[in-house]
Amino acid sequence: MILYDYVLSADCYAVRLLAALTGQRLETRAVDFYPGAAEKGAAFRAINPAGTLPVLVDGEVTLAEPAAILMYLATGTSFAAEGASAQEWLARSRHFAAALGGARQHDMLEVPGDIDALRAEGSLWLRILEAALFEAGEEGCGFLLGDTPTIADIAIFPHVALAPDGGVELGAWPRIRLWMRRLRALPGFIEMPGIHRLHDLKPEPGPDYGGAAA
């Protein structure tokens, strides 16, 4: 499977992450989205006329919508999710991308936008996510659709974790923080720039002073 990829794209990262979590190998082809805008060029439009990333090519199959790519990769794995609730979150991920991703592109890459409106819109979606995670937790679920992670979580997570890049801080969202921590601790989890390694999972090298402190 070939992934046409841009290293700083949250949606491309969601695809790389799901592949890593489900043990699938992707052959990534770097597309010069920034600064080159290569995805708008003729060569890339031959692959995806819409001129967007990510694009997944698997034999005869070409997919260019992030949610569809996630569904495709999740088929037959524990991350697969169907039904209206899954669709609701996959569709919501576009709102997260537009608002939080828009703020991020504005703050990071000088992309024009109404930054206050983007951040306010992003905070609204974070409120919706925080409340949903609270309600899931009351039902004994650590993830959006149950007690194991699915593509619903993977579609939303990158935009949320990268929100600080666009000036939306995550300090005041306790349920979101705990949910992100659970995702980051999954076996096979990979990072992207802006999301640091969860170093706590690794033991302290060398003589450990830990116990002696108390």
Partner: protein
């Protein structure tokens, strides 16, 4: 020797990707400027329409608000066989001086660039040499060594990498590191910083690499990945400005380059983006 900050050259665009007719409205040292493609090359002007001096070097358009001197040389830029990489601008909410100082630092590699430029338990920073070369008025750190799991796009597996760091300009730094495919040569990675304000900057990384295997997009994205890992650090340092008061932060021997850089800034009187007294 001191020099007015307005007399320095600063990067404001990639020469090969000039903003179209409307131009790029941006800030330099807090002053609004516009960069655009003119009939005979790039033009930069102030809000009042005053044309500013322009020079093109190392892939970038540089300008100056005052009376410019010579831009620092990077002789390697002209060496045949190197591929010149315009990485693109990344905006960071931090002092331009903090951005440069972070670039000079290796001790953060295992924690910030985990499994790429460093990894635990290989955290030790060995002794290295630092001095201010008065003849050229530059800070140089040499014999810097660090264990790296994947030093460059072209690197396979871990190697002990050697570095030299050079600060020829208050907001620019040039780093020379072992070239994985050409062990006798140095790859050149530079960080050119455009100070928008004292607490906001546009960072323009640029490279001159020996690498025939990677695509241009791959080389760009490797460097973007590295720099974006730094960005989330830079936006979260307190205070946002670089403290020049030695009592405010606690350096160790690993920080000799940053100590020399701060001293050099003081000596040159370059305090734009610096915090002079403890808050």
């Amino acid at each position: 020797m001191t020099r007015d900050k307005r007399d320095e050259w600063y990067p404001v665009a990639i020469a090969a990707m000039l903003p179209p007719a409307r131009g790029r409205d941006t800030l330099l040292l807090g002053e609004p400027i516009r960069v655009r493609a003119g009939d005979s090359g790039p033009q930069v002007e102030t809000a009042e329409g005053r044309a500013l001096p322009v020079t093109i070097a190392y892939g970038h358009v540089w300008t100056c608000l005052g009376t410019p001197g010579d831009l620092f040389p990077i002789p390697e830029a002209a060496q045949p066989g190197r591929r010149l990489v315009d990485v693109g601008m990344v905006r960071v909410k931090c002092s331009p001086l903090r951005a440069v100082e972070n670039f000079l630092d290796i001790a953060h590699f295992p924690f910030v660039h985990t499994d790429i430029l460093g990894s635990e338990p290989h955290t030790e920073v060995y002794r290295y040499d630092v001095r201010i070369r008065d003849e050229v008025d530059e800070v140089w750190a040499t014999k810097v060594r660090f264990y790296q799991p994947q030093a460059a796009k072209s690197a396979e597996g871990g190697i002990e990498t050697e570095y030299m760091y050079r600060v020829p300009h208050p907001t620019c730094s040039v780093l020379y590191k072992t070239s994985p495919p050409m062990p006798g040569e140095w790859d050149v990675i530079a960080l050119f910083v455009q100070p928008l304000t004292e607490e906001l900057c546009d960072v323009w990384p640029w490279m001159a690499l020996y690498d025939d295997a990677s695509s241009m997009a791959e080389m760009i994205q490797f460097q973007q990945m590295i720099f974006l890992q730094d960005r989330s650090i830079l936006e979260n340092q307190i205070p946002r400005r670089l403290p020049l008061d030695p009592g405010m932060e606690s350096p160790t021997r690993a920080d000799l380059t940053s100590i020399a850089y701060r001293r050099w800034l003081k000596r040159r009187g370059y305090t734009y983006g610096a915090q002079l007294v403890a808050a």
